[in-house]
Symmetry: C2
Subunit: 300 residues, 2 copies
Amino acid sequence: MGEFELLARIRERLPEPGPRVRLGSGDDAAIVIAEGATVTSVDALVDGVHFRRAWSSLEQIGHKALAAALSDLAAMGAEAGEAYIVLGVPTDLEEDDSLELLDGISKLAAETGTSLVGGDVTRAPVLTLSITVVGHAESADDLVTRSGACPGDALVVTGELGGAAAGLLSLEANEERPELIARLLEPKPRLAEGRMLAKAGATAMIDLSDGLGGDANHLARASGVGLRIDATALPLADGVADLTVAVSGGEDYELLATIPPDRITAIPATRIGEVIAGEGVEIRLPGGGLLVPTGFDQLR
Amino acid sequence: MGEFELLARIRERLPEPGPRVRLGSGDDAAIVIAEGATVTSVDALVDGVHFRRAWSSLEQIGHKALAAALSDLAAMGAEAGEAYIVLGVPTDLEEDDSLELLDGISKLAAETGTSLVGGDVTRAPVLTLSITVVGHAESADDLVTRSGACPGDALVVTGELGGAAAGLLSLEANEERPELIARLLEPKPRLAEGRMLAKAGATAMIDLSDGLGGDANHLARASGVGLRIDATALPLADGVADLTVAVSGGEDYELLATIPPDRITAIPATRIGEVIAGEGVEIRLPGGGLLVPTGFDQLR
């Protein structure tokens, strides 16, 4: 089957695009009517680097690729808009496999109101996905970068931590832990939470793809501040007993945000610490010691 | 060297982004203020599929990847805006190699007024580039799709044909034909020509990536018309003697457009035929015979 035939079959299965889309897949480029600010992020996943086909169904791989990309839009407080998919297909991937992978993408696209409006299909030595997502906001002022945290702000996190890392450990140990494994293989982009946090007045935000320890450092550096985290306040996923896993493990795709304490009332997040003058990230243990995140290898 | 260090070194070398860009590379996503219509296309290049490292410098590979992506914007009549680069780096590619590749992208970006505002770097089994380009127009009505050709329109093409294919043949035969080889390895996206054709009233447009024969068919099918091409009118690149090469060879990245004959005066293109009712593409030879494009393998 050639590239054009696969593209035609893919196009048949695409859901209807949203109202901003003037021209979808099939021409030289897609046309979108955008007002206000657009937010764009690209994310690549490579077999053997970011996932293993032995551990994931193709539908899960498609889901996770789009989820990871949309998570970056969530971290800006943007509304999901359009996605463009580049699929690198190895010779051992059948046409139906490509379509199964696309089903995983399409379902999450439908759930999140994302229009799939373009892409490219090419041969590649291993399964490779590259996803570009575009989000929207009324104005750039409605969006939240990594760099606006101020000393005195509270530090908050959505959802629960450590589930994806514990899921990876379960897979490696061949344990039956379906909830944790789902946290790893089928993450949910926190789009609604991101918009609520932005609306509530979050001053900085980042999604937890590399792990709380690493991503908190990215935010602290971008904002030129320090972060003090109370280890006992961390919301651990069910089945995660080890604090080190929760702060070191990546791919939870929760949102870490800073927000003035008086704006913290009605947000879907747990307060875990505060922004301080200085630099770096301290994770304080109950006894007064510090927890140091480890380089927890997330298959990357 | 890790992903973050390479990203930091790449960011240092990026040219200043254009005025639409509110936030460039380094956060969860880029922020762009877009008014009117945005035009988005993605394009992937894989070593061994779309290029050979033995034949191209890394700078040329970077140049060509961005040129091929921008060519899709040219074919819509859009102004170049932003580009997002996904780089899949094999273990035998050194940091300096990645930066050389980026230099090829950056130079063409500067020449075309394209802002490089985001990307992702990942390990990959072979060098893989995936480029998303976003173009702009005041309104969707200023853009030209593949589907607006009407019987009676003239068919025109920019520049010259067959140069890239002849360049590939020269490389395969180990011949010194630097001009032709440059046509293959350093194509120029016809952005200015695309905007002029759109402004002049082009009714349909496509860029010649697969070859005149194949791409004319895409345009004819999308518009629901037939195309009649006069083989003697084709503008051949210097050094291209074989008409079959000119109509079958891809990667010239010239623009094929349809336009009402009375609008044809001041456009940067050669008239090569006409739009007729019906379907399919006829390429007529002087004696009255028809030329049939062959499947000319362009390393894909």
